[in-house]
Amino acid sequence: MQPVSYRRVRAVDEAVRAGSAPGSAFYAGGTTLVDLMKLDVMMPASLIDITHLPLAAIEETNRGLRIGALARMSDVARDARVVERFPAVAEALERSASGQLRNMATIGGNVLQRTRCAYFRDAATPCNKRRPGSGCGAREGINEDHAILGTSEACIAVHASDFAVTLAAFDAIVHTTSANGERAIPSAAFFHRPEATPDRETALEPGDLIVAIELPRSRAAARSTYVKVRDRTSYAFALASCAAGVERAPDGTLADVRVALGGVATVPWRAHAAEAVLRGARPNAETFAAAARAEFAQARPTTQNAYKIELGMRTMVRALETVTA
C-alpha cells in the first residue's frame, strides 16, 4: 500500500474543500477503497474520512424516499419504508455481499464500487480502466464473468453493484455537492458506459461528494422484485440479475413496467427494448420471452461468456413471472 494521509471531517463543506485537493479520496465504508489500496489499484495521496458527517438519515420527500449517502446497506435493507415501497431495492441489498460488509458499506459508496474484473484488480496486467491505453487483458483472457451488454473495444468489465440495478430500474436520482454547488443526477446519466474511456465510470467530477440517493415512488417500484443468479447460493456477485417492477391496468395489461439487468452489463442496465415489448401488453410467457429476446438481441459475447445470453434471458423472465404472479 502506498503512503497516505488521513483526515476526519465533521462538516460537509469541510469535506468538499478537502476532497477537491488532487489525489484525495473520500473514505466511508472502506470496503472497496481499502481492498484496492492493498492491491495498489487505488493509490490516493490523502483520505478524507466522511463517516462522521450527518448524512445517514432516510427521509420522506415529495417524490419518494431520500436515503443519506452514509446510510449503511444493512440499515437501508431493513427500513420498513424501503421494504414496503421498494421491495426490489431491499432484496438487492440483502443479496449483496455479506452481513459484515453490509454493516460497513454505505449507499453512496455502493454505487461507486469498482468492478471485480480480475485484470482490473491485478496491477501487473494490462487494463484500460486502471491504466488508460494499456489494453484489455480480459477480452482475449479469462472472461467468463464479463459483460455482454454495453461493452466496448476498450473494456468488457461488469458493473458489480446489485443496488445500482434497482436505481436504474426506478429512475433514482444521485444528489451531489461540491465547491461548484449541488447537482441532482438521474441514474441514467450517472453511470457511464466504458466506450473509449473506461476509467471514467460516473458523472462525478473530482471533489464531488454524493450526499443522498433519492428513490421516486411509483406503483411499479412498490410491486417489484430482484432476482439474482450466482455461482453459489450466497455471498457471490451476480452472473445475471434482474430488477423488475410492474403496474397492472384494470384489464390486466402492463400499464407500467420497469426492467433493469445486472451481472451482464458494463453499467446498471435499463432494459428499454424489453420494456417497449412489455408496456401495454398482457403478461404471459410469450410476452416475457419476446421481451427478453428483444433486449439480448444487442448482446455481444466474448470467448467464454455466451452462456450469459440464455442465462440473462431466463433471469429476466423469472423476475417478470415473479412480479406478475
Binding site: P3, S74, G99, M104
Partner: protein, 162 residues
Amino acid sequence: MIVEDPRSARTAERITLRVNGTDRTLDVDARVTLLDALRERLALTGSKKGCDHGQCGACTVLLDGRRVLSCLTLAVAAEGAEILTVEGLAREGELHPVQRAFVACDALQCGYCTPGQIMSAIGCIAEGRTGDDAEIAEAMSGNLCRCGAYPMIREAIARAAG
C-alpha cells in the same frame, strides 16, 4: 494529532482505540488496518488474518455492537468506537454463551476461522437472523470455514440464540 515524519514522508497519527473496554493509545501509520493494529501492536491475536481482502470473515470484530471486517477498516477510522474482539468475550473466567455453544457443538476443526465465526455469530444473533437453519446459513455466509464445520457452526448458533 498528525505527526509528519520527514524521513519517510509517511503520515503517522497518535490514536486511542477503545478495545474490550480499555483505552489503548498508539502511534500508527494511516495505512494500518484495525486488524493489524490489534494483532501486531496490541498483541490481540485472536482476530485472524485469512484473506486480508474482506472475503473470508476470519477478522470479524464488533464495532459499536455491529459485526464488521477489521481487515478493511483503517485503525485511525476506528478511533472513538467501541471495539470488541474475541478476547473481550469471557467474563470472570466464564466463556460467552456463543463460545460455550461452539465448544458444546464441536463447531470447529482447525479453529482458525473460529474467532471470526464467533464474533459474526454474536452479531448475527443481535440482528435477529437466526429464525431457522437456512436463515443462519444466509446470515453467516461471510464467514468461510475450510474444514467444513458449517453444520455444527449453525447448530451452535441456533443453540446460543435459542
